[in-house]
């Protein structure tokens, strides 16, 4: 409730009859404020403290000693809406536009993101074999060549309408093909067996 509506409520209570006053006199219980909110990028400073910990300071407010940076929309809007969490995963706040962070803070946040995510991008499929329900992949990724096994097409492979294919292996390690239509012809042909 805004300040204005609160004021109106109290005025209304003062001018009401007794019967109404009983109803109006109930204390208005405000829902507790959320513990976190959007953070103003201009007031936020992020830096590595020299002991391997990322520190966050909201100017004129508080400082957090050991934070992590997490993307709210890792696939759809990876470059905006970065959340800060503490070590136990509790949310500190969300930065809507990290590009407005100062240079040092942005570099520190990007390094924290790089540490947090390991999502190899598949650039080519060398071999794809489906046997007894499991799918065996040999692929090239931006992190080097890799062989992995997905447990079944339904469980391990998800295709989005925009051509993105997300794969998860049997140990829940993840891989992504940003747009399968942009892969080479052989990779597409192999992938087409399971899509």
């Amino acid at each position: 409730m805004t300040e204005q509506t609160q004021a109106e409520a109290s005025t209304g209570a003062a001018s009401a009859t007794d019967g109404e006053r009983k109803l109006e006199a109930r204390p208005i219980q405000q829902p507790p404020e959320p513990d976190y909110d959007f953070l103003d990028a201009a007031r936020l400073r992020l830096f590595w403290d020299g002991t391997g910990r990322l520190r966050a300071t909201v100017e004129g407010d508080r400082s957090f000693l050991d934070v992590n940076v997490v993307r709210c929309f890792p696939q759809s809007i990876p470059d905006r809406f970065w959340a800060l969490t503490d070590r136990s995963g509790r949310v500190i706040g969300v930065v809507t536009d990290p590009m407005n962070l100062d240079e040092t803070s942005r570099t520190a946040a990007i390094a924290a993101l790089a540490r947090h995510y390991f999502l190899p991008v598949i650039t080519a499929i060398r071999s794809l074999k489906e046997e007894f329900g499991a799918v065996y992949f040999e692929v090239e990724t931006d992190r080097g060549p890799r062989a992995f096994v997905a447990k079944g097409v339904r469980e391990g492979i998800q295709e989005s309408e925009d051509g993105e294919v997300a794969l998860a292996d049997i140990n829940e390690s993840r891989y992504v093909i940003p747009d399968w239509r942009l892969l080479d012809a052989k990779s597409q042909k192999l992938l087409n067996r399971i899509l």
């Binding site: 109930r26 219980q29 829902p31 507790p32 020299g50 002991t51 391997g52 910990r53 890792p74 790089a114 540490r115 947090h116 995510y117 390991f118 999502l119 190899p120 489906e130 046997e131 007894f132 329900g133 499991a134 065996y136 990724t141 992190r143 080097g144 060549p145 890799r146 096994v149 447990k151 097409v153 339904r154 309408e161 292996d169 049997i170 140990n171 829940e172 390690s173 993840r174 067996r193 399971i194």
Partner: protein
């Protein structure tokens, strides 16, 4: 130098590099291979922990590189940190934190165990003690294929004969029927071969100008008789096969269900109920088809085909060669066709599944769809999926329409060859080969039809048999799975259980890499009521699961009346434990049957007495059929509170010494809760009780409250003592007070 814990042996160069970093004679306690470099690329690294150092080496051919080296003395804390897509071993060394190794999640269990051993090294004189448990294999050690479940069998390396022998063992008690079936099969096969030969006699000796017309009727009668005999044999043989198949299935299902009931909870966690149901229904069905088809159709057909082949080769080997000529090509073609069509089938199945997912989503949530006016969006989504089904369905049907006739044509080429060369033999145009009669050619063509007919079914059958054998093995896997030992002869019997329960340094996790209880110690006197308090997931239900011995502790012990649970007969123990769960489960049956579920021989008086104590009599009598009202499954419309009171009556009747109330009042309104609370107070009287409740007010009658935090007992005492302590419990109470104030106003 001795290595005590290792999952893989490192290359010599890596070992030498580590040894260089250590003092002479310094033992290497652990080797662990990882698969992501700290630069974020896939690469092999080796973590070595010696008695004094932690070293990480990156093998780079002959000259491995030391990535990290630090004395153990500088390490304050080690954490296995799960991040998105990988896991890291994070070390706090002299106040500075760094990832020493990173790995894909396949190494998560190992890294967690390493972190724990490192953090507990003070207990072992400063040197970590690694007892890495061998994780169950994910891949077949023989062929490297993924196993359907960890530690399970490989469908590819499966010894088919072993499985068939085991299926055969089920047939042994019914051997007389099996023998009759085999004899009839062979006889039917032999008899079925005769008619084309009689056709030959008919054409050559009767239907010619010099023939003997008197033979016509006897020959036709013989043909009809043979056909009738074959038919009778086949009917009897197929009926026996059906009986045998179904009977064996009954025996297998019985063994399977018995085993499922006795499965350990760990195994249950690993195998979902859906999977078990699928084994009980689909796998047994598949095996049944094989037994019936194998016994009823395949076996006689193969015997008959072999017989025909022998007859054809004896009749005329020259023509037989032409008949056999297209067979290998046909088999190759069919195999290729099956592989190809299987892939299309699979795609079809996937897309249809996707389509029904969309339909089921939007139909189930129709109110929401309509309320938000999203019909056009749902229609377009469905249309897109339906179109993709249309495309693959067309592809599938067109493949059938194209390749099947082509394969037919291929096999028919044998017939054309036999017509041509056989015709020339009849006309005497092949000088080096004697003349044959028209009857011989006709008989030959007849046999050919009998031989070619089942050929393409047989090529498909190998696939079916493989599937059935895999199904059989899946069934045997459950039948052979680790089971709870109900009646261990060495187990202690506890006829007069007092109900004293003690947790002694209990550690436990459902997964090896995630401990839920970390060193829990607690002593409960007989008849005492303990309220277990703490956040969700802190291990309250886990504690009660351990008391029931649904799982065994990883470390430490739980004692009942001073005896380790593992030394008590499970059946005895559970007879003395009662549970009232959050969601009461009623079995299909009457209310009376449900109340007396654990004590079937009880009297109606006892049932009524228990219902009175459970505050249940009133609503039971409001049902038109009283105690005979059918509930559970699709029958009955009892509310959550009513079901709960039936469960309480069941527990009262069971008369347990140890009672577990797991959120017993969380799914009911305040008024019903009050009635249930009264019933519960009657129930807990004189019994050792462990009660879990989110609403802390429901625990007000507990003798003691045990507050769990981070897998340990954080606080213990009465409500007042804990409030005074101003710790975890006080915080929980404050939070609930705020919440209930808001709820009261909203309500």
């Amino acid at each position: 130098m001795c290595a005590t814990a290792s999952r893989k042996v490192p290359p010599d160069a890596v070992r030498a590099t580590v040894e260089e970093k250590c003092a002479p004679g310094e033992p290497i306690l652990l080797w662990q291979k990882t698969d992501i470099g700290t630069d974020g690329t896939f690469r092999e690294q080796w973590l070595a922990i010696t008695s004094a150092h932690l070293v990480v080496v990156e093998p780079d051919g002959e000259a491995p590189r030391v990535a990290v080296s630090m004395p153990l003395g500088s390490i304050r804390k080690v954490d296995a940190v799960s991040r998105i897509g990988y896991i890291a071993l994070e070390v706090d060394s002299d106040g500075r934190r760094q990832d020493v190794v990173r790995a894909t999640n396949s190494r998560a269990g190992a890294l967690h165990q390493i972190a724990r051993a490192m953090n507990e090294r003070d207990k072992h004189g400063g040197s970590p003690e690694f007892t890495l448990e061998e994780e169950e294999e994910q891949f077949c050690p023989k062929c490297g294929r993924l196993l359907p479940e960890k530690g399970s069998f490989c469908p590819s390396c499966l010894k088919r004969t072993t499985v068939l022998v085991r299926v055969w063992r089920y047939m042994r008690p019914h051997w007389p029927k099996a023998l009759v079936m085999t004899m009839l099969t062979s006889l039917a096969a032999v008899v079925a071969i005769a008619p084309p030969y009689l056709t030959k006699v008919l054409v050559d000796d009767v239907l010619t100008t010099q023939g003997r017309p008197a033979l016509l009727l006897p020959l036709v009668l013989a043909l009809a008789g043979l056909q009738a005999v074959t038919t009778v044999f086949r009917i009897i043989q197929a009926r026996i096969a059906a009986w045998l198949g179904s009977r064996i299935m009954h025996d297998v299902r019985f063994d399977l269900y018995q085993s499922i009931q006795a499965l350990t909870f760990r195994r249950f966690d690993r195998t979902q109920v859906g999977t078990l149901m699928s084994r009980l229904l689909n796998d047994t069905d598949r095996l049944n088809y094989m037994l019936i088809d194998l016994g009823g159709w395949l076996a006689p057909t193969v015997v008959q085909m072999l017989g025909i082949l022998i007859v054809l080769l004896t009749m005329d080997w020259f023509l037989a060669v032409f008949m056999l000529l297209p067979v290998p090509f046909f088999i190759m073609g069919m195999t290729w066709f099956h592989t190809m069509i299987h892939r299309i089938f699979h795609r079809h199945w996937l897309r249809r599944d996707n389509m029904s997912d969309v339909a089921s989503d939007s139909l189930t949530g129709l109110r929401v769809v309509k309320a938000f006016a999203q019909e056009p969006r749902e229609i377009s989504k469905f249309s897109e999926r339906s179109y993709s089904v249309f495309r693959v369905a067309t592809q599938q049907e067109q493949a059938f329409a194209t390749y099947f006739p082509l394969l037919e044509l291929l096999i028919m080429s044998g017939t054309f060859l036999v017509w041509y060369f056989g015709g020339r033999l009849v006309l005497g145009e092949v000088p080096w080969h004697g003349r044959i009669t028209l009857g011989t050619l006709m008989a030959f063509l007849g046999y050919m039809g009998m031989f070619y007919g089942p050929l393409h079914w047989i090529t498909m059958f190998s696939n079916h048999i493989n599937q059935a054998i895999t199904s059989a093995q899946r069934l045997f896997e459950i039948i052979d799975a680790e089971q709870e030992v109900y009646d261990d002869p060495k187990a202690a019997k506890l006829p007069d259980l007092q109900g004293r329960v003690e947790f002694r340094g209990v550690r436990f996790g459902y997964r090896k890499d995630k401990e839920v209880l970390k060193d829990v110690s607690l002593s409960v006197e007989p008849g005492e009521m303990i309220g277990l308090v703490g956040r969700s997931g802190v291990g309250k239900t886990t504690m009660t699961n351990l008391i029931c011995r649904f799982y065994d502790v990883d470390e430490g012990a739980i004692l009942v009346d001073g005896v380790d649970l593992r030394k008590i007969s499970i059946a005895q123990l559970r007879k003395r434990i009662g549970i009232v769960p959050q969601e009461s489960f009623l079995f299909s049956g009457t209310i009376a049957e449900n109340i007396s579920y654990a004590s079937p021989d009880t009297t109606p008086e006892d049932i009524i007495r228990a219902s009175i104590a459970a505050n249940a009599l009133g609503f039971i009598l409001r049902q038109p059929d009283g105690y005979d009202t059918r509930v559970g499954g699709s029958a009955g419309r009892l509310s959550a509170g009513e079901k709960q009171r039936i469960a309480i009556a069941r527990a009262i009747l069971h008369n347990p010494r140890i009672l577990i109330l797991d959120e017993a009042t969380s799914s009911v309104d305040t008024e019903t809760e009050d009635q249930i609370q009264t019933a519960l107070r009657r129930l807990v009287k004189g019994r050792t009780t462990f009660a879990i409740a989110h609403r802390l007010s429901t625990l007000k009658y507990s003798n003691r409250l045990v507050v769990l935090d981070d897998g340990k007992v954080a606080e213990m005492g009465t409500h007042d003592e804990l409030i005074e302590k101003n710790g975890v419990y006080k915080r929980l109470v404050d939070m609930q007070s705020k919440l209930s104030a808001v709820t009261a106003l909203d309500g």
